[in-house]
Amino acid sequence: MSLKTEELVLNMGPQHPSTHGVLRLELTLEGEIIKEVKTHIGYLHRCFEKHAEVMTYPQVIPYVDRIDYLSSMGNEFGYVITVEKLLGIEVPERVHFIRVIMAELQRIASHLVALGTYGVDIGAFTPFLFCFRDREKILSLFEMTCGARLLYNYMWVGGLSHDLHPNFVTQTKEFVKYFRPKVVELNDLLTNNQIFIDRTVNVGILPPETAINYGVSGPNLRASGVKWDIRKIEPYAVYDRFDFEIPVGKGKIGTVGDCWDRYDIRILEMEQSLRIIEQALEQLPDGDVSSAIPRRIRPPVGHAYGRVENSRGEVGYFIISNGTANPFRVKVRAPSFINLGILNELCKGHLVADIVAIIGSIDIVLGEVDR
């Protein structure tokens, strides 16, 4: 005699403490094992791409900030180098170096949020506050430079809005010195904790071929063993002058491509970012950051695609210009949107409690998913 079992459809609704935003998941469960996950997105759609068609090129930059509000510098970077490609202008060296420093600081800040909130999802509340305490230091560095803590409007087409504050270099060097032991502390508290390891090892394994087929990029791809980083493959700004490594998931504990690997990759990337910042601060040249900013931005008719390595993956901008002061089309290739596609693959066969661990490890930001 066999029991008739029914599948349970559970809704992890748009309001849930651990879906990292307004994401709706429709889970089809058999007991506690997941059979299928359907994602329903669009709760945060703000019509960015349509909006960009009626604004001028400099006016688009505050909107670009708000796509991925946790790593705005990366978004601005992508947009700005694409428009510069369209216009065909060269920016001074100092601008390149400062952009790299800002982007790497932003990468550290964004990874701190990812790691902290991942800890909260798993149940450890203390690392979250430690990560945010360190992030405050980065945000005050940004505040000193451009006046805003989260949405900067700092990188402009052809340069930057402000030059560095006189105290910036000293304070950043202090921050680098302050932050290194904090990473060790975070490792003690969370990464090497046996309970955390039990929760994340062998959960949500992403094989490299699947990752490439789905178009996953960023730390998720590197955690599966694929050594792909746009900063090394197609260096933009002055990344080819720095000596840094690309951490790749090796399956130190558990299999390659599980949640622990994705978590560990972010910690290793933070350390590499510190290296880049140190080198950039050493090599920072003098110059005028606003000398190449054009008075009028009217690109010739054509299109360009520019991409950068943001904290969540590859942000790509495809801009079509029709010769006027407003872009004809700005298309954003948002990394979180594409990374979210693997959720169904990863969750099959796991328990409900693992969904939370898996979503947290993919590190999505709903602003990017919905734009």
Binding site: V60, E136, G147, L151, H165, D188, N192
Partner: protein, 187 residues
């Protein structure tokens, strides 16, 4: 078998290491401040509430054009000849009465794009961030320093001036018309 004991031992060890970290932090002084009693000193480039110094505004619309959120609404009225509006602080002569300069701070995205194009640097961002209101209409800030009566007066003056100019033009055209008619009639 050994893996079983090892796992238990490692679990206990990592738990104790974690506990040591949190215990050390019990004695670290707090990094937070008690906000309403103690306020942070903000850096000089801080971007908070906008302020417009109307004495310097020449009504050129650059800030309204630069705003990505369309939150600045400006209306200007040309001055009638003979009126002296004075000069801005960097020597420019003003030629327009600004009768409406509303910034809807609820729409403003604090991006600072309006500050840079201003030729007289009269619009800038201050470090005031505690300006919340109970009603959304109260967040539409009106920066013009003229009283409503004065604004009406300027508009009426300009309208009258335009009417006079139009009347004078019509009269001049009529006179020219009648002169040519007279000229036609002459021979």
């Amino acid at each position: 078998m050994m893996g079983y004991f090892k796992k238990g031992w490692i679990a206990l060890k990592t738990i104790f290491i974690g506990m040591k970290v949190t215990f050390k932090h019990l004695f670290v002084p707090a990094v937070t401040i008690q906000y309403p009693d103690v306020k942070l000193q903000l850096p000089e480039r801080e971007r908070n509430r906008l302020y417009v110094n109307m004495d310097d505004c020449i009504g050129c619309y650059q800030c309204a054009r630069a705003c990505p959120a369309d939150c600045i609404i400006i209306e200007t009225v040309k001055a009638i000849p003979g009126e002296n509006l004075g000069q801005t602080s960097n020597g420019k002569r003003k030629a327009l009465w600004v009768t409406k300069f509303d910034i809807d701070l609820a729409k403003c995205c604090y991006c600072q794009l309006c500050v840079f194009p201003c030729p007289t640097e009269c619009i800038y961002m201050t470090d005031v961030y505690e300006f919340s209101e109970y009603y959304r209409e109260n967040l539409i800030y009106d920066y013009v320093t003229l009283t409503p009566a004065e604004r009406e007066e300027k508009k009426i003056n300009f309208a009258n001036h335009e009417k006079e100019k139009a009347a004078a033009k019509a009269a001049a055209a009529q006179k020219k018309d009648s002169e040519t008619k007279k000229d036609e009639k002459k021979p």
